[in-house]
């Protein structure tokens, strides 16, 4: 019962935040001088005043701002996200087409970051203050400090230009018929460099986090007991220490959806990866307000959902951990 109340309260909070997000985004995008009608007219090079006026009344732009805001809220709630004028297609369709690409990129980058980060963090903690620890820490620092675009460009210079091993653009090079296996391999080859470029920064974060968490857990009583009992080293490390240290990592990962989405803009641009990060940048550049708002809205919903999920998981898991 308590949990249900907590859930409802969190949902209400999330809804309120979402509402605020929508209002703020609306205000931000309408802060710009000129409006969508100008943009569309300018692009089609047919901006005689009558046409522009007609366009304005069609899009409801000739009404006062509060009215437009209400109209916008209404549209959002009824899931009518409008037409993207720069791409001649409904906003939701464009987003739906590109979302899988970004999802694939983000999930694989995150998984790589967690696996690598956890492994490196454990290694560093086990050799704390000795050679390997120093090396890993330096490596982590380098990964953290190197700008994402430098990593991407560096990888391209090495793997595409010099060695010609990997393709540097797009998500696939196959057209026409191909087996499921061929398609998967092709996509994997295209995914490799963007995934690494996006994930390196987070590898650094998780390495440091895991190391710190391990160092907190290792001296604890239950680990000492396990050691006294003579249990195998790796069993201790994994079963008793690492699993407890994992929780903050998972929490952190959930909270980094927001940051990953931002990072994907640059990676998708460098590698021509068809995702919503690149779509967002192109949309902003073309002043395609409906598309921009759709993407911002979707990202916010995603972030809120994930953080809600993480919160719930945390509260569920936490008491059990303490009891162990």
């Amino acid at each position: 019962m308590n949990f249900l109340r907590y859930l409802l309260r969190r949902l209400a909070q999330a809804a309120l935040v979402l509402g605020l997000v929508i209002v703020l985004q609306f205000l931000l995008l309408h802060l710009a001088p000129g409006d969508v009608a100008d943009v569309i007219a300018g692009e089609s090079q047919a901006s005689d005043p009558a046409f522009v006026q007609q366009l304005r009344s069609e899009l409801g732009l000739d009404r006062p701002l509060p009215m437009q805001l209400l109209l916008h809220l209404q549209r959002v709630v009824t899931l009518d996200w409008g037409q993207a004028h720069s791409m001649d297609a409904p906003v939701w369709q464009l987003i739906a087409e590109r979302l899988p690409g970004t999802a694939l990129l983000m999930v694989s980058a995150l998984l790589l970051a967690i696996v690598l980060g956890v492994a490196l963090g454990i290694l560093a903690a086990l050799h704390a203050r000795r050679g390997l620890d120093g090396l890993i820490s330096v490596l982590a620092l380098l990964f953290y400090a190197t700008p994402g675009f430098l990593v991407g460009i560096g990888l391209i210079l090495i793997f595409t230009v010099q060695l010609q091993w990997l393709p540097m653009s797009g998500m696939s090079s196959l057209y026409g018929d191909a087996s499921w296996w061929q398609r998967s391999v092709d996509t994997a080859r295209h995914l490799l460099m963007p995934m690494v470029s996006l994930s390196l920064f987070y590898v650094a974060i998780y390495t440091r986090l895991m190391r710190a968490a391990m160092l907190e857990v290792l001296p604890m009583d239950h680990v000492r007991t396990a050691r006294a009992k003579g249990l195998g080293r790796w069993r201790i490390v994994w079963h008793h220490a690492a699993r407890n240290a994992l929780l903050p990592i998972v929490t952190m990962a959930g909270l980094q959806v927001s940051s990953l989405l931002g990072g994907s803009v640059i990676v998708e641009t460098i590698f021509g990866w068809p995702g919503i990060g690149r779509l967002a940048f192109e949309a902003v550049f073309k002043r395609d307000v409906p598309l921009v708002m759709g993407i911002l809205l979707l990202s916010s919903v995603l972030v809120l959902l994930v953080s809600l999920l993480v919160d719930l998981i945390y509260t569920r898991l936490d008491p059990r951990i303490r009891l162990r």
Partner: protein
């Protein structure tokens, strides 16, 4: 090498090259083209951007094609005749042509396209075709254009990407901008629309019922979206794509790529582009509105430097907004402004703008068109040059919508770096920018400088209705002299666009519209 062996080697090489030339077209294969931007849709009748034209040009057909010397060839029109008074053009259309959906092509499609399709909607040729009063269709295979006045440039404005013939049975009585066929096009061209993978690629397949028997040779065309300049260069180098068009790799890369064994570069096939870059002035600005100031600024820009370092030598220094490739109109005998910083400073002093206490004469903002990598570089270069002669110049970058609004509506600008395509005739490409009758607030690529000169207007009017080439050339020469004297614009570089292709790609630059044509004759040699 021993003389005998040397000549033997030469003979072998010679026969090999002959063999290459004499090879017969091979049927089959996929041609992959790198697209720098994903098109919003595929209707070139309402959109003049490269990415729309290159795809649409394969799906649709025009009335005429033009070889590299601009000799007219039949496309959808088998024959044509111009009435003596120049006001009526009769087109005899091909018989048996079918749309991709199986319906018959007829003169009704031509009538629709001219009167309601590209005629009123294509930003580039709108004014040229506004002259057409009506299109008579006495039978299904004859279209007669009746014009209010003779339009000298019209016969040169009929390639597919400019005068796209759309299917009336799909478009008539609909909103041309919202018709779903814009993203699932139905044309009469050599290739049919097959698939559009958003953000990734557009795929076209051979039209088995194309009206030129045996063509197209290619099975399939893939337009791959590669937004990054470097990625496109790497793609054509590695063979991931077979063609990059319209100078869309870094110019610094282009020469290196052209030297590779498997690639070749050509500047043919851009006659309908013929773009000239320039710096234009707001004639109503208090400072640059003065001719002496403009002349001074003209002396401060080293155009050869811009040509060599921004466009990497692809083109020629421009002496007028008319591209040198338009031989029927271009002239060099106009006032010139040599690169001379001392003279620039002298002119500014004489104009009353002496250096102040801080060494500066006045402030100036430089705007530039937000397309391509070149214009920010030109802007920075120009700024640096102006600083040297004592102008406190700064560069302003904007997105396209803001730039359009500023230059053509708001008018709070002084100097704008941009470029204009001449199309195939100055009446189409240049008149719109300098005739005082084409000052249209809000519409880009109209007369944004607000330059007004009655003589110039008259010459343009005369040139557009007079069919005698000698008379037109005289008028255009006078126009160029006026522009070089009054200097509402400082022409910079007459650009030679280039196409880089894998050597296996044949016949892609045999027509004047080059890559924007149908590619019915294009074939890929086997590896």
């Amino acid at each position: 090498m021993i003389p005998v062996l040397k000549s033997l080697a030469a003979l072998v090489a010679l026969s090999a090259s002959f063999a290459a030339v004499a090879q017969a077209p091979v049927r089959g294969g996929t041609l992959t083209v790198a697209l720098p931007t994903e098109p919003a849709h595929l209707n070139s009748a309402i959109d003049t951007t490269q990415q729309v034209k290159i795809v649409a040009g394969k799906i649709y057909s025009g009335l005429l094609k033009y070889d590299l010397k601009m000799n007219m060839q039949p496309d959808l029109a088998e024959s044509w005749s111009l009435a003596p008074d120049g006001r009526t053009i009769t087109f005899k259309l091909r018989k048996g042509v079918k749309w991709h959906d199986g319906r018959d092509f007829s003169s009704a499609d031509v009538a629709y396209s001219i009167m309601k399709g590209f005629g009123p909607n294509n930003g580039l040729v709108r004014t040229t075709f506004a002259n057409v009063e009506s299109v008579q269709t006495p039978d299904a295979h004859t279209a007669v254009l009746v014009m209010r006045q003779p339009a000298a440039a019209l016969m040169n404005a009929l390639p597919v990407a400019t005068a796209t013939i759309l299917p009336a049975h799909i478009y008539d009585n609909t909103d041309i901008r919202r018709n779903p066929a814009n993203t699932r096009p139905v044309g009469t061209g050599p290739f049919m629309f097959s698939e559009w993978r958003r953000g990734d690629a557009i795929v076209l397949v051979r039209n088995p019922n194309y009206f030129e028997a045996g063509k197209p040779y290619l099975d399939r065309m893939v337009f791959k979206v590669i937004p990054d300049t470097q990625a496109r260069g790497a793609a054509v180098e590695s063979g991931a794509v077979d063609m990059v068009f319209h100078s869309t790799v870094a110019a610094s890369d282009a020469r290196r790529l052209a030297g590779l064994k498997n690639l070749e570069l050509t500047t043919d096939g851009y006659h309908f582009d013929s773009t000239v870059s320039f710096a234009e002035f707001n004639m109503q600005h208090p400072i640059v509105g003065k001719r002496e100031v403009r002349q001074a600024l003209a002396h401060a820009i080293d155009r050869k430097f811009v040509l060599d370092n921004v466009w990497m030598g692809f083109g020629k220094v421009a002496t007028s907004p008319v591209h040198y490739g338009l031989r029927q109109a271009h002239t060099d005998s106009v006032p010139q402004y040599a690169y001379d910083l001392k003279r620039a400073e002298q002119l500014l002093d004489e104009a009353g703008f002496k250096r102040g206490a801080n060494g500066m004469r006045f402030k100036l903002t430089i705007d530039f068109v937000p397309f391509g990598d070149q214009y920010p570089k030109v802007a920075q270069y120009v700024r640096q040059q102006f600083v040297q002669i004592g102008i406190d110049a700064d560069v302003r970058s904007s997105d396209f919508a803001t730039w359009v609004r500023r230059i053509w509506t708001g008018r709070d600008w002084a100097l704008n770096l941009s470029a204009l395509t001449n199309a195939s005739d100055p009446s189409i490409g240049i008149q719109r920018a300098y005739s005082s009758r084409n000052i249209v607030p809000g519409t880009p690529f109209t007369n944004g400088t607000h330059f007004r000169n009655a003589d110039l207007d008259n010459y343009f009017e005369q040139a557009s209705v007079n069919s005698d080439p000698a008379i037109r050339k005289r008028h255009f020469a006078a126009i160029q002299r006026i522009l070089a004297t009054e200097l509402p614009v400082i022409p910079l570089v007459a650009i030679d666009q280039f196409t880089i292709t894998n050597k296996r790609v044949r016949n892609h630059a045999t027509l004047s519209d080059g890559v924007y044509g149908g590619f019915a004759d294009v074939w890929m040699a086997p590896n």
